[in-house]
């Protein structure tokens, strides 16, 4: 037995806008009506599914050029392992449009398209670094300077304990993490240097093409390093417009891009490009009146699951809106199944029957235990990220008091079994969309 998603016959693109019939708006409904105001102001009706389907069809048309653009920018870089691209599917667009309508963000077909910011999704997976030897780590610790000063003896001991995953109190870990972040900065930058360089050049090319910036201004304002300016003068780059940058990470997680790299990107993007960031355990220095107490900082830190990715909302040269994510191969794979617990807690039930036992266990967790479980997931992210950076890593164990079904190993097994099941279902499956009169 399969499922059929029926949609109404394809309707013409509305020209003036969409008005929502809020009385029929129910979360998750598949037949939410939206009133379409035509040019003559006569009210026509179409369902949201049709709009989602239409946007999905347009994305399919825009997809080849957008994919080519991402491949042209990052495809030849030695540090890039692989790139995946996909246009957003109609069901996913539908879910997102529902949210946009409820937020009163969508009042025309164009704003609906704009709201689907990640219409074309790309992932750039960068290679892991080689494993560091003890001697290399020792040298890095010896040479580490913070604000121009070498570490004290006590700081070195603390940092080494953190690097080698030695047991330490939460207070010690909080003190060690900022040192660890500084220590790991060169590794983070080594892994993502090529990606950030070529991304910066594509952003610069776009701004030059739009007349916002010249090479002279880039030189005067030191917006790019000398070697990049030289490349900009001698090579051709695919222009790319960036709208928003997110550099997600957990409380004790390292980001995909270092603060120095984010700053370099911010400079070449110019004003108007937004960068979202997370507080670290020391609190916000940007908001001096909103500093966290230690307990508050910890509370926030364990709420997040440690989700980590460098992420950008962009506009492709053919006008398609897209999202590029930058990750390492191990955190990328873990991310495929890590989000299951979060989705379940949010009430999304898109998982197959294989996950029934897992779902039951997740729904039984108290808020306190769920926070502890999230901490475990964050530790898993950090473990895989350490492997990507060539750092010593110890695989975290599921804390006592949790059913084994919730372990990372079991989540991976379930995910892989479900993927195999979906592959089997695809064989001989009838079309997802059947047009009806």
């Amino acid at each position: 037995m399969g499922y059929q998603f029926l949609i109404k016959k394809f309707m013409q693109k509305p020209e003036l806008g969409l008005n929502v019939n809020f009385s029929r708006l129910t979360a998750g409904s598949r037949d939410m009506d939206i009133a379409l105001k035509a040019k003559d102001l006569a009210i026509k009706k179409a369902d949201l599914g049709t709009t989602a389907y239409q946007i999905g069809e347009e994305l399919k048309v825009q997809f080849p050029k957008a994919r080519e653009q991402v491949d042209n920018i990052f495809g030849d870089l030695n540090s890039v392992e692989r790139i995946t691209n996909r246009p957003k599917g109609a069901v996913s667009i539908h879910t997102k449009l529902e949210r946009g309508i409820k937020e009163n963000k969508i009042n025309s077909y164009e704003t609906a398209v704009k709201y689907i910011g990640d219409g074309i999704g790309s992932r750039v997976i960068t290679r892991p670094l080689e494993k560091l030897s003890r001697a290399q780590i020792k040298k890095m610790v010896e040479e580490l300077k913070i604000n121009g000063d070498p570490l004290t003896k006590e700081e070195k001991v603390l940092l080494n304990k953190y690097i080698y995953n030695n047991p330490m109190s939460p207070e010690e870990a909080d003190r060690a993490f900022p040192l660890f972040e500084k220590f790991a900065q060169p590794l983070i930058e080594k892994r993502s240097k090529q990606v950030v360089d070529d991304l910066s050049l594509s952003i610069a090319s776009n701004r030059i093409k739009k007349g916002e910036l010249s090479i002279e201004q880039i030189k005067e304002q030191n917006l790019l390093s000398e070697d990049l300016i030289k490349r900009l003068e001698t090579e051709e780059f695919e222009p790319l417009e960036v709208l928003l940058i997110n550099n997600y990470r957990g409380g004790h997680g390292l980001p995909e891009f270092s603060s120095r790299q984010i700053q370099a990107l911010r400079k070449i993007c110019g004003s108007g490009v937004i960068v979202n960031s997370r507080p670290d355990l020391a609190g916000y220095n940007k908001f001096p009146n909103y500093k966290y107490s230690k307990s508050e900082a910890k509370e926030f830190a364990i709420k997040a699951s440690g989700y980590r990715t460098g992420q950008m909302n962009i506009i492709h040269s053919n006008g398609a809106r897209g999202e590029i994510q930058f990750r390492g191969p191990y955190t990328n794979y873990f991310g495929e199944y890590e989000h299951i617990a979060y989705d379940l807690r949010q009430g999304k039930n898109t998982l197959g029957p294989l996950f029934n036992d897992y779902k039951r266990e997740i729904s039984r967790l108290s808020d306190y235990k769920y926070a502890r479980y999230n901490k475990y997931l964050e530790e898993c992210y950090n473990y895989y990220n350490r492997l990507e950076l060539g750092l010593p890593a110890v695989k975290p164990k599921l804390p006592k008091g949790f059913n084994k079904i919730l372990s990372e190993e079991n989540m991976k097994k379930l995910y892989e079994a479900n993927e195999a099941r979906l592959e089997n279902l695809k064989a001989g499956f009838s079309p997802h969309f059947v047009e009806v009169a």
């Binding site: 030191n222 603060s259 700053q263 108007g272 997370r278 507080p279 709420k303 989000h339």
Partner: protein, 137 residues
């Protein structure tokens, strides 16, 4: 994908200000701009190390989706003596902020930019963009 549970914002995280002390958004913004101009003149040297610094205020404007607004100076990590002037909006959950750059350069470049007639208007426009961005989180 963002994984913050904003439903669980604890009231203890909300810092309220007595009503009589409330100021208009534009007044608060101009006040912070003035403070930052003074601090930039004083704290950014021609050469050498300086600390990042910021001035913020609690947002009371219901049209702006943010707990607090801040103007902040970030030391340029690639150029000695360089700095970035940023504007940030803090999400009501306090778990994330959105930031955009207003200008970058040396102390005098930044002050020159801040002394332009339309500076506060430009900052207000950026804050609106940040607010819209935070609503989507």
């Amino acid at each position: 994908m963002i994984k913050y549970d904003i439903k669980k914002i604890n009231n203890k995280h909300i810092r309220m200000m007595p009503k009589k002390m409330e100021k208009k958004f534009s007044e608060e913004l101009n006040n912070v701009i003035l403070k930052m101009k003074n601090r930039i003149s004083r704290e950014i040297p021609d050469k050498g190390y300086f600390r990042n610094f910021a001035e913020d205020f609690e947002n009371k404007d219901k049209n702006i989706f943010a707990r607090a607004i801040s103007l902040n100076i970030e030391k340029d990590e690639n150029i000695e003596g360089g700095a970035l002037l940023l504007v940030s909006a803090l999400h009501p959950s306090m778990n994330v902020d959105a930031t955009s750059m207003l200008v970058c350069g040396r102390r005098d470049d930044i002050l020159k930019f801040m002394n332009k007639d339309n500076f506060s208007q430009k900052v207000a426009e950026e804050i609106n963009k940040l607010s819209e961005s935070l609503k989507r989180i």
